[in-house]
């Protein structure tokens, strides 16, 4: 079970040693369990009745049956196969078939640090050299009490990196989303630049702002996320543009969970009006825009990035790939070195 992952595997299934979003919080009700796949691995989300959440490898320490087929016992899970009981920190609390067996009391199941943020579960996926969670700085739009954010979660066929690349490619807004309620306006030609920040970089138009999807910031703050802003038509009421905080869950090589928090700097009746319009009319229009992305990304051939002819608008994507590729190489290298010690 412990083979050293290659850089290709890490690149395809998601970077280690950082936090990733997993699923929306409401996917696991109090007292419930849910099987999830993340970074190509099987996990069990387990929530106690007091809402405390834990995340365990979905693999019984006895003979490897999925714990997710087992029974929720309130503060532990009992494997269905031979009844071995595992606590939320991964410790075997009892082996009913052989009381006193030396498995009891041992922490034999991997458990991941989890946090719940703005309606989503985040978990830290460290490799063997980095078990301690990386420092996590949350996106300000999700923590600022003056900003209202509403989560939209969707599952797409296709690798995680295409979903992130799509966000680092603002120019697609003027074409793919030209018929949408928010991105019909602005120039269809543009010049872009990369502007470095201490947490990532901006990829932005040099000559237009506030008209279409004109800029995006990649932020690497323990979790990878993007921030961007899209103007609303007058019909959306006061409060100006809406922002998006986007995160991506690498499910496995061919599947991705996307998290989009639509946020707006609104308070009082203006906030209430936006939320009301959002629920009643706007959410569906946003969804139709997101479906355009899904249709396009799911239709991309698997070898799309092997036969490209890139131009200036793709600098944001190129930079992203370099960054992720280098990190995948370094992570594979780090694990290989430590194994040979």
């Amino acid at each position: 079970m412990t083979t050293t992952p290659t850089a290709d595997h890490i690149y395809a299934t998601g970077l280690r040693n950082q936090w990733h979003p997993v699923v929306p919080s409401h996917f696991v009700a109090p007292g419930a369990m849910r099987k999830v796949t993340v970074l190509g691995e099987q996990w069990l989300l387990f929530r106690r009745s007091d809402s405390t959440l834990s995340m365990l490898a979905d693999r019984c320490p006895h003979r490897g049956a999925p714990l997710s087929l087992g029974k929720h016992l309130g503060d532990r899970v009992a494997c269905w196969y031979h009844g071995v009981e595992v606590e939320t920190d991964g410790t075997v609390s009892s082996v009913p078939g052989l009381p006193g067996c030396n498995l009891e009391g041992k922490k034999l199941v991997r458990s991941l640090p989890v946090r719940e943020v703005a309606g989503a579960v985040l978990a830290y996926f460290g490799d063997e050299q980095h078990p301690e969670p990386a420092e996590l700085t949350l996106p300000e739009p999700l923590t600022d009490p003056g900003i209202d954010a509403i989560l939209c979660y969707a599952e797409w066929e296709g690798g995680w990196r295409y979903a992130v690349e799509n966000l680092l490619d603002p120019m697609h807004g003027s074409f793919l989303h030209h018929e949408s309620h928010t991105m019909f306006d602005g120039d269809t030609t543009a010049k872009f630049r990369i502007r470095e920040t201490d947490r990532g970089y901006f990829f932005e138009k040099t000559d237009q702002r506030g008209v279409n999807f004109d800029w995006v910031e990649l932020c690497r703050t323990g979790v990878d996320w993007v921030d961007l802003s899209i103007p609303y038509p007058a019909s959306a009421g006061p409060g100006g543009p809406f922002g998006i905080v986007g995160m991506v869950c690498p499910v496995d090589e061919n599947r991705t969970g996307v998290f989009f928090w639509r946020y707006r700097d609104v308070q009082g009746w203006e906030r209430d009006s936006w939320r009301f319009l959002y629920k009643t009319l706007i959410e569906k229009r946003h969804w139709e825009v997101l479906e355009q992305d899904r249709v396009m990304l799911e239709a991309m051939p698997a070898d799309a990035d092997q036969h490209e002819n890139l131009y200036q608008h793709d600098l944001g994507v190129v930079r992203l790939r370099r960054l992720y590729r280098a990190e995948a190489e370094a992570q594979a290298q780090g694990q290989a070195v430590s194994r040979n010690l």
């Binding site: 989560l151 599952e155 629920k279 569906k284 899904r294």
Partner: protein, 75 residues
């Protein structure tokens, strides 16, 4: 265990219920008011009243009643 249905593609994730005809009408009218009349609270109250979209008590809207109702609907 919760079953894992893949893919999860749910258009409406923020609603607690299917909007009522009253809510649909109010929302559509609000969008029209925001587009044609302005973004101030006074514009909204005037715009809704001019279009005969009534407050829950059947009378004209006031700033107070609009604030209260939109808070209930948008919470």
């Amino acid at each position: 265990m919760t079953t894992t249905d893949w893919p999860y593609l749910d258009v409406h994730q923020s609603r607690t219920h299917e909007p009522t005809p009253y809510e649909f009408k109010l929302a559509a009218t609000l969008e029209e008011v925001f587009t044609k009349d302005g973004h101030e609270l006074a514009d909204v109250v005037r715009g809704l009243n001019a279009r005969q979209v009534h407050a829950p008590d059947g009378g004209p809207w006031t700033e107070e009643s609009f604030r209260a109702e939109i808070h209930r609907l948008g919470a």
